[in-house]
Symmetry: C2
Subunit: 200 residues, 2 copies
């Protein structure tokens, strides 16, 4: 039985989760030489409901490309956090956009205000997904920051490279800060928002 | 046991198959109210090898989002045509980009020069995938041309709407012509290239 690692990116439509899944899959699959399957599902409930994109990583060909027990859940809004956190493994990693997720269903979570950083630092809410990718590259051991950067630059529109590189870096910085806070308190706690934003 | 319909889009990296899969899935899943799962796989073989993107459609939730027996195979190069045509159902539909696919593994196939149309009519090889989407919307009963147009316009970069709408229309026209030829000959035959191009 080979190694299998499951990531679900969730939130609402329009938060760029599909592009995020594709970039992540390309970063892992093409740049790091593992087998990766990347899936999104649409259904009658998709219009205006929660959106999700999954990335499964393995050291062998993937026969069942649907996530069952999550190693990582990124929740970009409260609804997806509530709906999907029961799918996490007991030791799984929950990462939330604390701009929108204010109630944590489990105590262990990294809380980073991706959308607020996008708004306040970049004046472009659309880069919240790229900031989150930067954070994932720091928080998930199987994702290399360098591979993510290559994959982002290969996928984003020409002329937006600097914006996206800066957004990635802001996400990495936020994640490093969150990890440090976590280390200091044993369990993660909400980082005072002003402090966190100052340090990007 | 519900209805299940499997589409595989295949070719080489850089032919825009992933975007094509996403647009198709969104057209079917969001605009037409069915359940849709859309998957791409990456592996150590993906670098420079064949690329594929799959869309599974069902009238119920999709538990196994990987294609097993294809209802439709789009092959944008010879390698993917050779590799994947054995996965077609006996009555499955093979659609090839005849710019690159010159040897048909099975006699029944729609041959349309997507890339050549993109080059000669639009001077932009990148729209070959959108031309192919236009053709699929004419050739696959479950895909509505209007839903595909909405999904394309929602996904392509701002400022390229006219180019992409024209590319879709060229694909639809090419497919209508190919269907007519098919009807005349019982089995499809290669349409003389000059005639075909003149009529777009």
């Amino acid at each position: 039985m080979g190694f299998r690692y499951e990531i679900r990116l969730s939130g609402s439509g329009g938060q760029g989760l599909i592009l995020m899944g594709i970039i992540l899959a390309e970063a892992i699959g093409i740049y790091e030489g593992k087998f990766v399957a990347q899936t999104q599902s649409y259904g009658p409930e998709a219009r205006g409901g929660s959106s999700k994109s999954e990335v499964i990583v393995s050291d062998e060909e993937i026969d069942y490309p649907k996530a069952m027990k999550l190693d990582v859940l990124l929740a970009m809004n409260q609804k997806s956090c509530d709906e999907f956190s029961p799918d996490l493994k007991p030791e799984g990693l929950l990462i939330v956009d604390s701009t929108f997720v204010t109630q944590l269903p489990i105590p262990r979570a990294f809380q980073i205000p991706f959308t607020r950083i996008a708004r306040e630092k970049f004046k472009r809410e659309v880069v919240a997904n790229i900031i989150a990718l930067g954070a994932l590259s720091q928080l998930c051991p199987i994702i290399s920051p360098r591979a993510v950067e290559s994959a982002v630059l290969a996928r984003v529109p020409k002329g937006t490279e600097k914006l996206n590189r800066d957004a990635l870096k802001a996400g990495m910085a936020a994640a490093k800060r969150a990890k440090k806070e976590w280390g200091q308190t044993e369990l993660p706690r909400e980082v005072p928002k002003e402090d966190l934003l100052d340090s990007y």
